[in-house]
């Protein structure tokens, strides 16, 4: 059978309004009837590329050809008219509506959906279900359906709209293994029917299992395109994370001190009840940075929340400076010497409408230092303290009363990190400390973490940026689906092995 090109994307560039260069000249070729894997780390540009193809995002530069015709979409509906549809990682379903209502949503054809139309449409959907083998209870509210079935509703939505190029963004991330098998079965069926599938993932095994061809993205560029038959997990991992090794930042070579954080067989559940952290055991010692590498969504968030008193410890034991933390809240843990720089400074680290000074005391607003006899806030003292914070951490702000929302990302992060370090903690939890920051701010924060380590603090670092983890860590752990693949001194691990483990493959 001759390979017929379905879609060609040429020289795609995408620069977000905030200046982030998500794609820097990407070529992507899709052959009709194939399952094409789109592989890459967080931030490599996979989802951005897919959203451009599905019409959700406008492109900054580049061209898209469909069957040789040049096209430009101004919205997903136009892509759908050409038969291109996408299932987003976070489903676009109206949760209280039934499956059939969700499938028909937006297809009312401009008039009020009459009962007759629904009956008609329902018949069509049932036909599609029978043909494709996708079975869904049409009259059940979507929110009551398991994730795997919700996903089928999403796919049915596209099939009903006659999509023949299906883009699936991390379709297996929330599925159980049985559901994954069913999904793969479905995808193979689609292929037989001549439909084309783009399968976005970071999981090496899946991409080896199901795809015909793989495009690997790294930092907004194509790192390689190869037929799956010629690929090995090792080769893919190398393409995904690169081979260059970075010099580790200069640091004192003092031996580590006592264990500040010790975790034994920790189990933590995620929001939908599954196990997010499975049997994790590790220690962080004074003067040590333990870096956890891994693709986001493998349990890091839940782990940190449990350690910061924000999520229930299902089983296992966590101790800070020898004291069990079970049942304690964030305030009590702060008092025991914990500080926490959460992963999203705008959503979790700051109250954006609060001033710099107000944010400077967030979490310490009931500290006697800043309170008078009536528990009134002593603003003069708070301003003085904030000015010291501004000076010490080089925060650029017009004044202490400027709302934090007017600060740049780098200065917002300096404010969060400064506030937390000012607590003089013995244990620091840091998540994604330099995400979205420019080079100067990134350097500043990384140097600061090293300095804190040299001063004898214990630091637990979680980052999706592999370079960062490798550069900063004394000890590294690789997390995959809630469990550690390995914990070892950073020196003993190379990028390729880490890349493999991040994708769930244990190197032999």
């Amino acid at each position: 059978m001759e390979a017929v090109s379905a879609v060609r994307m040429k020289g795609i560039v995408k620069i977000y309004p905030d200046g982030t260069e998500a794609l820097r000249g990407v070529d992507f070729d899709l052959t009709k009837g194939e399952i094409h894997g789109l592989l890459g780390e967080n931030g490599a540009g996979k989802t951005t590329l897919a959203k451009i193809l599905s019409g959700l995002l406008p492109l900054t530069a580049g061209e898209i050809y469909l069957n040789g015709r040049g096209l430009r979409f101004s919205g997903p509906w136009e892509a759908l008219k050409e038969g291109i549809g996408m299932v987003y990682q976070h489903f676009a379903l109206v949760r209280p509506l039934t499956a059939i209502q969700n499938i028909l949503l937006g297809q009312e054809g401009g008039r009020v959906l009459s009962r007759l139309d629904v009956k008609d449409a329902e018949k069509q959907v049932v036909e599609i279900m029978e043909q494709s083998g996708l079975k869904v209870p049409l009259d059940a509210a979507v929110e009551l359906l398991p994730i795997g079935v919700q996903q089928r509703v999403e796919i049915l939505k596209l099939l009903y709209r006659r999509a023949n190029i299906l883009i699936l963004d991390e379709p297996t991330s929330a599925l159980t293994p049985v559901e994954v098998d069913a999904l793969f079965e479905m995808l193979r069926q689609f292929k037989k029917e001549g439909k084309t599938v783009v399968f976005i993932t970071h999981k090496l095994r899946e991409v080896m299992d199901i795809t015909d061809k793989i495009t690997v993205l790294r930092k907004g560029k194509v790192a390689g395109v190869l037929p799956t038959a010629e690929a090995t997990p090792e080769k893919l991992a190398e393409l995904m994370v690169g081979t260059k090794s970075l010099p580790t930042a200069s640091r004192s070579e003092k031996p580590f001190g006592e264990a500040v954080l010790s975790v034994e067989k920790l189990q933590v559940r995620n929001d939908i009840g599954g196990m997010a952290a499975k049997d994790l055991s590790f220690q962080v010692r004074s003067g040590e940075i333990l870096g956890i590498a891994g693709v986001e969504g493998n349990g890091q968030t839940e782990l940190l929340q449990a350690l910061a008193g924000l999520r229930k410890i299902e089983s296992g034991k966590v101790a800070i400076n020898g004291k069990d933390i079970a049942g304690l809240g964030p305030r009590e843990l702060f008092k025991m010497g914990l500080a926490f720089v959460p992963e999203d400074r705008r959503r979790l680290g700051l109250v954006l409408d609060f001033s710099v000074a107000e944010n400077g005391i967030l979490g310490m607003e009931d500290d006697k230092k800043y309170l008078g006899r009536l528990r009134q806030l002593l603003w003069t003292k708070i301003f003085q303290y904030t000015r010291r914070l501004i000076e010490r951490f080089g925060i650029l702000t017009p004044s202490v009363t400027t709302p934090a929302k007017y600060l740049s990302g780098g200065n917002q992060q300096r404010l969060v990190v400064g506030r937390e370090l000012n607590k003089e903690p013995s244990l620091l939890l840091v998540a994604q400390p330099t995400r979205g920051l420019d080079v100067a701010a990134t350097h500043f924060i990384r140097d600061l973490l090293i300095k804190m380590r040299d001063q004898g603090k214990a630091i637990l670092l979680v980052s999706a940026d592999l370079d960062e983890v490798m550069q900063l860590s004394d000890t590294m752990a690789v997390i995959y689906q809630g469990g550690f693949m390995k914990v070892a001194p950073a020196k003993e691990l190379d990028r390729r092995t880490i890349g493999l483990m991040m994708g769930g493959v244990m190197p032999t």
Binding site: A308, P330, F340, R347, L348, L350, I361, Q376, L377
Partner: protein
Amino acid sequence: MARPLGETALAIVVGLLVGAVIMLLWNYDPLKAYIALFRGAFGGVDQWASTLSMATPLILTGLTFLIGVKAGLFNIGAEGQVYLGTAGAVAASLFSLPPGVHLLVALLFSMIIGALWSLPAAILKATRGVHEVISTIMLNWIAVWLTRYLVNFPLVDAQRAEKTITVAPTSRFPVLVPGTELTLAIALSVVAAVVVYYFLWHTSLGYQFRAVGLNPEASRYAGISQLRIIILALVMGGMTAGLAGATQVVGRPPTWALYGTLANIINLGFNGLAVAMIGRTHPIGSIFAAIFFGGLYTGARQMQIPPPPSTLPYAEQLAEVVSGGRGAGVSIELIGAIQGVIVLAVAVPGALDLIRKYLRRRRGK
């Protein structure tokens, strides 16, 4: 600060213009009507007294709503809490106490009852996630009938069954301007607004209220208990609403009692929402918004007074309206419509604040 003031000024102008158009459509003279309105609201000591007495409870119910907003809640339970708070203040007159102390006890009763009435909503929200709009609306209706029962049975005036017993003179606020409804209760309202302002911006608990209201997730990460803030915000709101009710019996001549129909306290809670929005959900803003609101209602009487004879030259007609001898003869029903239009227009900027805030919070998630 300048921007909110400018927006509110613009909204007032728009409201007045729309009101003027309505009057023109029905063949009234808007100029005379507005002069009469102003004359009736602020034209002299008696008018000011009347306006301020109308503002007294509204400042307090405005505070109820804005405390909720600051903590991220949409608390519309003030109405029911006002009813029961009023009954509580009357109940204090079932026994006798020395002057002054008796007043304090009456106020305390109203605050405690208002707070208690907020508790079901607070507990439902904190433990079961029941939205406070739903629970407070339902509690409002329960309060209506509960208060009617209290007024008609335990607290009824044996001689005049249409109202409760008159509150004891020992539990009354001193009258400030004899012959008007203005009592020292206005001072209570103003002080309450200042206290709420100080609480929100100058205490650590107030800080936590605002933090939870602006970013619940970051507050959780900072270790602020959202449950505690929700409960406290609703309870504090219940206390100010209860006080608002008290001012209508122990702080308002000549009735000094609650009618069985609840006619003298109805809508005080809901009007508090409008007051809070007109005041841009700022406690000090609520004082001015309530006075504006009070003026709008007090001045309405003057608008109804028949206009000067149309045979006079226009300037002389206006002079008669300015002097207060004549009005604009606007029918009472239309005045209601005009008041509504003006309040709606003036509340728009504040309502937009709330909508923007809500959208920001949603987007944050």
